[in-house]
Amino acid sequence: MAETNNNLIQGKNGLWEIVMGLEVHAQISSQSKLFSGAAADFGAEPNTQVSLVDAAMPGMLPVINAFCIEQAIKTGLGLNATINLKSVFDRKNYFYPDLPAGYQISQYLYPIVGSGYLTIDLANGQSKKIRITRLHLEQDAGKSIHDQHPHKTYVDLNRAGIALMEIVSEPDLRSAEEVAAYLKKLRMIMRYLKTCDGNMEEGSMRCDINVSVRHPGGNLGTRCEIKNVNSIRFAQQAIDYEARRQIDILENGGTIEQETRLFDANKGTTRTMRSKEHAPDYRYFPDPDLLPLLLKKEEVQRLKDTLIELPDAKKQRLIDQYALSAYDATVLVSEPEIATYYEKLLSKKRDPKVAANWLIVELFGYLNKIGKTIVESPISPEQLGELVDLIGAGVLSGKMAKDVFVEMAETGQAAGQIVSKRGLQQVTNSKEIERIIQQVLQSNPDKVAEYKSGKDKLFGFFVGQVMKASDGKANPALLNELLKKALS
């Protein structure tokens, strides 16, 4: 069955479709490593977080970290996937200086998590299900540093042995946009579950992209695997380049060789890393140091029971419960901390739409300007809530509230405090506003005459004058109404 794809690429002789699957390596947020008690945090001095297990000293034995098992299960549940009650650790053999044992402990035939899916949201408002093939646990390798010495590579084993989840998707992705949406959703789910911090800059989430091209509806083409893609923006660049490269080869009568390619972030291109003939033969076999990992149904159920509300469900609830737009709901669930902030804002009865606007437009705008995240916000949900209440009660107009907001952010003072200190109480007394209107009209008789002879545009001038005379405190709606009456 042909699926509709709006992302086809026009070639010389017809349309092309990009077909992609992703392998994402996500570092589990744990204190210690997968099979050793060495610390797993980022940025320590070289080789200070290495146990003799990680250094592959003879006779050292791996012992699995129970927390890492739970994180893999939770992530699997978050991806709507089957949890395999029996899984097996294998040795994946290859030679590289940052892999001291000469093998990586991974899972091959029997991964801990089987097939699942996640739903991506696209810019056109549609969503699409992307199937997940599997998720398995494995060790990370050490870090090779190639640019510190002309002839040497430096190796730091701090990362060696840290727990990774490798999450493999089916070839369901059809455009760079879909890949970006997939990575964002996967990262969001893991951040909600707190299983991986998803920090691509620090390398705690990395991805390899399998790219092939075909004419729509045709057989799958030969794929190339792109490695070393460490940001969402780079993923998009790498895909654009690689798809174009493959199409050019095919349109000029060539064939695609299955190979592993490296993304070069400086040039925005991909280049051959190794061809199929040089593909390593990993000689997987079950690790004789580790018995099969057996899970009990109750153990999985217990984790299922503790699962928090995930972004898709939360988004739908915000739409249903608070009548928010899909756009607002999407922004509010984009980070778990933002969703928490919003729900705290609504822990007292407030207009959900007004609260969402103040959070999304004003607070985000301000945080953006000062380069901070919601967690570092100088204004707490309680403080912003007070401001929203003052608007709701008619004490502050929207414009006055914006001034108060800036002062709150800069001084940390409460909205009520600022209002009483600056005498900012909005004027909602009709008599008072009428008095100011009369003053303004009396001192501008010529403008009044012009207005009455049909120059409607002057209405804005009168609004401005009255607002000015009231020090910006006149309630705008009331002012409009009374001014219209006075000028009629």
Partner: protein
């Protein structure tokens, strides 16, 4: 199963080891002997393929997520043929 010279060369390539023709010959013979020994082991009759060891555990032991190790930089680097600034130091592996 027999090990021919091409297999030896392939294994050497995977292991990033350069072998002389004489070494291909001698390692081929050694590997052949190892395989022969494995084949001999496989002739042993073991019921259900499982060793009858009652003390054998059947469940993977788990540990709690605590930092109990590390700070062994000197020990970790002790066998390094070359080191610099607490890094292992190896011939450059990329151009």
């Amino acid at each position: 199963m027999s090990i021919d010279h091409n297999t030896v060369k392939k294994i050497a390539t995977l292991a990033k080891i350069r072998l002389t023709p004489e070494e291909v010959q001698s390692y081929g013979q050694e590997l052949q002997q190892i395989l022969k020994w494995i084949e001999q082991l496989q002739e042993a009759k073991i019921p259900n393929g499982v060793l009858p060891d009652p003390s054998m555990k059947t469940e993977l032991q788990r540990r709690s997520d605590q930092v109990t190790d590390g700070g062994n930089t000197d020990k970790v680097l002790l066998n390094a043929p070359e080191k610099a600034y607490d890094f292992f130091c190896v011939p450059k592996v990329v151009e």
